[in-house]
Symmetry: C2
Subunit: 122 residues, 2 copies
Amino acid sequence: MNQDKLSLTFAALGDPTRRAILVRLSKGEASVSELAKPFMSEMSAPAITKHLKVLEKAGLITKGREAQWRPCKLNGEPFKEVSQWLEHYRQFWEESFDRLDEYLKTMTKATKKKGKKNVRKK
Amino acid sequence: MNQDKLSLTFAALGDPTRRAILVRLSKGEASVSELAKPFMSEMSAPAITKHLKVLEKAGLITKGREAQWRPCKLNGEPFKEVSQWLEHYRQFWEESFDRLDEYLKTMTKATKKKGKKNVRKK
DNA sequence: TGGTTATTTAACCGATAAGGTAATTATGAA
DNA sequence: TTCATAATTACCTTATCGGTTAAATAACCA
């Protein structure tokens, strides 16, 4: 795998099964077999074990031990790192608002000066 | 690749070269060769082309054409989707605050009742 | 002890990710 | 037309991913 923490995290999140496991864990701890249940028809137990390993390596979950069960729980820290990384791009996904805002400002100015200029066709 | 949009996006973000490209693009449009420049020593031009294809398929960038150049620009929408997905987990990365908060509350109550209980050692 | 359940490991397989080199296409300029 | 630059495509290799089945390990229960 790609070495650095963020790459491990993003790569781990890039699989729908693993994201579904995280959704389940966001509702509370669960053993491996509980986590596997929803996928029984589509996937074997070892496949789930491997997914959990990927999530664990990324630090997204931690596994405890309780008798023969391995209760998994979600760990928030990598989510935080993703969130922080993402912040750098916030302006880009809010850009449409900026554009609308700018457009409205431009229109107002234009209207004040001499009205209707640069009016979109169609 | 994994079909669904979010998986494509996360997978695309799971590579440091691609994230570096996005950082560059967050500072403004750039041609393929401009984007490739910082990686020339480590990577061939076709490798960059491929990374850009991955980013493009995830909708993270769009490529235009201007003479023989393909100016790339960042597209915010997938970032937004990641951000929205991430929101579901916010409580987990802010959990430490909750714990601290809860700890302080508990301490206050305990102090009121009979003082110093569960005081941290060291 | 033997049996049952939970989980992991080992070994394997097919698909694809990520890189390389060489050749090709597209465009502009001499 | 020919040359130079930008970018892509084709083809190949290697490693990793995501899954399988079969076997091993761990812990409880009778």
